[in-house]
């Protein structure tokens, strides 16, 4: 992607020193990224080998590597997907409101506040989740259990502390909201006037204009923003570690009970200080799994964005 920018044209007229220096720096930066990425991958793989080759009963939990990492992968994906499902529509709505509906003064203030959310350290979100959000969610969870308890997500018994998978998902949603909405706002504000006016001149209302010209134009940007958010949610350590600490369970879809799967990053943070020998290798192997997941998510996003490149509006 980055390292192939400076293919020299077949016949080079005159190469200016400025161009050469810039091309060199750009190429160097591109190569450096690849080297770092490769370095991380090599480290993760080489450190995981002992865990990958160990016999099942040596791994903590005695069930082998797959049954150790499996629930963690599941918990990681589940919490991140909940966060994404909650945050993306909200972030897009906020971005649309700020760009097209809010009076200009309010829009500036609101944009600033949303950006500020991104600057809050994740440990603060963790405490906010435990002490403020979780207790307030308990009555809501009771209601969910009573009315929607037939769904696997809302089976009881409801956690009395509110420190559940759904709480984590919501805290993560708040954490990734600023990233997704800032990027959405950016792409929405870049929709050419030419296209918004084309829609309005056809007799579109403001909402119809948004559906016709803005969302299709901004869609790939919003997907990109969500994937950045997903990346942050997947890798989030502290907030998850604080809220879910000590409640590791296997694979379960129950979102509001007290038995929840842990996430990879939080599990590493919690277990690492007390681990030695093979246990460390096991944790690094789970880190390798997280690395692969993140890579796959990014490739998926790229594929989604490129699928209809013809219609992207980039030409």
């Amino acid at each position: 992607m980055t390292s192939t920018t400076s293919a020299p044209p077949a016949q080079q007229p005159k190469s200016r020193p400025g161009d050469r220096i810039f091309a060199g720096i750009a190429k160097g930066a591109g190569v450096l990224i690849l080297v770092i990425l490769a370095g991380v991958a090599v480290f993760l793989i080489s450190e995981s080998v002992p865990a990958l080759t160990a016999s099942p009963d040596e791994i903590s939990g005695d069930g082998g590597l797959a049954s150790y990492i499996g629930p963690l992968v599941f918990g990681t994906l589940l919490s991140a997907v909940i966060a994404l499902l909650v945050a993306t529509p909200l972030a897009v709505a906020i971005a649309l409101f700020i760009t097209f509906y809010a009076p200009r003064r309010l829009a500036a203030g609101l944009g600033y506040v949303v950006d500020l959310l991104a600057a809050i350290p994740s440990i603060v979100y963790g405490f906010w989740g435990i002490f403020w959000l979780a207790p307030r969610l308990v009555p809501f969870y009771r209601w969910l259990e009573e009315n929607l308890g037939f769904l696997p997500f809302f089976v009881g018994p409801v956690s009395s502390t509110g420190r559940t998978m759904l709480t984590i998902g919501l805290v993560l949603a708040v954490m990734i909201l600023p990233i997704v909405s800032a990027i959405s706002r950016e792409v929405f504000s870049q929709v050419p006037t030419l296209h918004t006016e084309a829609a309005l001149a056809l007799g579109a209302t403001r909402w119809e204009m948004i559906k016709m010209a803005v969302i299709p134009y901004g869609k790939s940007g919003v997907i990109g923003g969500s994937m950045l958010g997903l990346g942050r949610a997947l890798g989030e350590t502290m907030a998850v570690a604080i809220i879910l600490s000590g409640s590791a369970a296997g694979i379960t879809w129950a979102l509001i009970s007290s038995a929840n799967p842990q996430t990879i990053a939080a599990n590493i943070a919690l277990q690492f200080p007390e681990s030695t020998g093979l246990a460390v290798n096991t944790l690094i192997a789970s880190g390798l799994a997280l690395f692969v997941i993140t890579l796959l998510v990014n490739m998926l996003a790229r594929w989604v964005v490129n699928r209809r490149a013809d219609f992207s509006g980039a030409n």
């Binding site: 006016e197 084309a198 309005l200 001149a201 056809l202 007799g203 010209a213 299709p216 013809d310 030409n315």
Partner: protein, 259 residues
């Protein structure tokens, strides 16, 4: 279908800046009216005030009256969205929706009208509009391809097809040929001659020959100096404007003895 437009004492503002002042004119139905004048004199601004596109720009507003067939466009109970559905617009730069196919571009306005149209009726309307815009034969085999993949002239005709698909009463065209080659320009001019059987057409152009070729009536806008509002200097039958104008300024502009 076609409707007459009466404009009286129209002042048009961008915030505090008065861009156009004191316009009075009547536009006949089923005719082509050309607006000419030097750059910056307010032709586009005036044109956009006729379908309430002017107020889309923050701070922009209008004083005075625009009456279409007895209905005051700027009446307090008039919804600008309804106005724009009746009065179509083609812009200077072709602006098909890049995220839509050729077919969907033409159908876009029809879908807005929220009436349930069956697939076959929609196909007919799209075909008729594309034929109306002289584009059908060039695109009929690639209706599902993106509209932005067409040439500039084809894109402009696609925009015309999109505008006429909703059967507006009036069609406003802001320099529709300024990005086109002579052959596409002639195609668009022929098209305008056909369309005026059904629509009232108002066109802004910098091309004197074009104004002379296609229009029945011509309005000449001018401004006294930078920062001054533009005014309608003369509004007369095209023949008269180009042979024996009332105003000296018109004659100077047309004969190129301007500025």
């Amino acid at each position: 279908m076609a409707k007459r437009i009466d404009v009286s004492d129209l002042d048009i503002y961008y915030g505090n800046f008065k861009a156009v002042e004191g316009v009075n004119l009547s536009i006949e139905p089923r005719s082509i009216t050309a607006l000419i004048g030097p750059s910056g004199c307010g032709k586009s601004t005036f044109l956009r005030s006729l379908n309430r596109m002017h107020e889309v720009i923050p701070g922009a507003r209008v004083e005075g009256k625009v009456v279409i067939e007895g209905q005051d466009l700027y009446g307090s109970d008039v919804d600008p969205v309804d106005v724009r559905r009746q009065i179509g617009m083609v812009f200077q730069r072709p602006n098909p929706f890049p995220t839509m196919s050729i077919y969907d571009n033409v159908a876009a306005g029809l879908r807005l009208n929220a009436k349930k149209t069956s697939k076959s009726d929609m196909d007919d309307l799209v075909e008729r509009s594309l034929k109306g815009a002289n584009l059908w034969t060039e695109v009929k085999d690639r209706l599902s391809r993106p509209g932005s993949g067409l040439s500039g002239g084809q894109q402009q005709r696609l925009c015309i097809a999109r505008a006429i698909a909703v059967q507006p009463e009036v069609l406003l065209m802001d320099e529709p040929c300024s990005a086109l080659d002579p052959i596409s320009t002639l195609a668009v001019e022929d098209l305008m001659m056909e369309l005026k059987e059904q629509f009232t057409i108002v066109i802004v152009t910098h091309n004197m020959q074009q104004a002379a070729r296609v229009s029945e009536t011509t309005g000449f806008f001018n401004l006294n100096g930078v920062g001054q509002p533009g005014r309608l200097i003369e509004y007369n039958p095209t023949e008269k404007i180009f042979s024996n104008p009332d105003e000296k300024a018109t004659e100077d502009y047309i004969s190129g003895r301007f500025g």
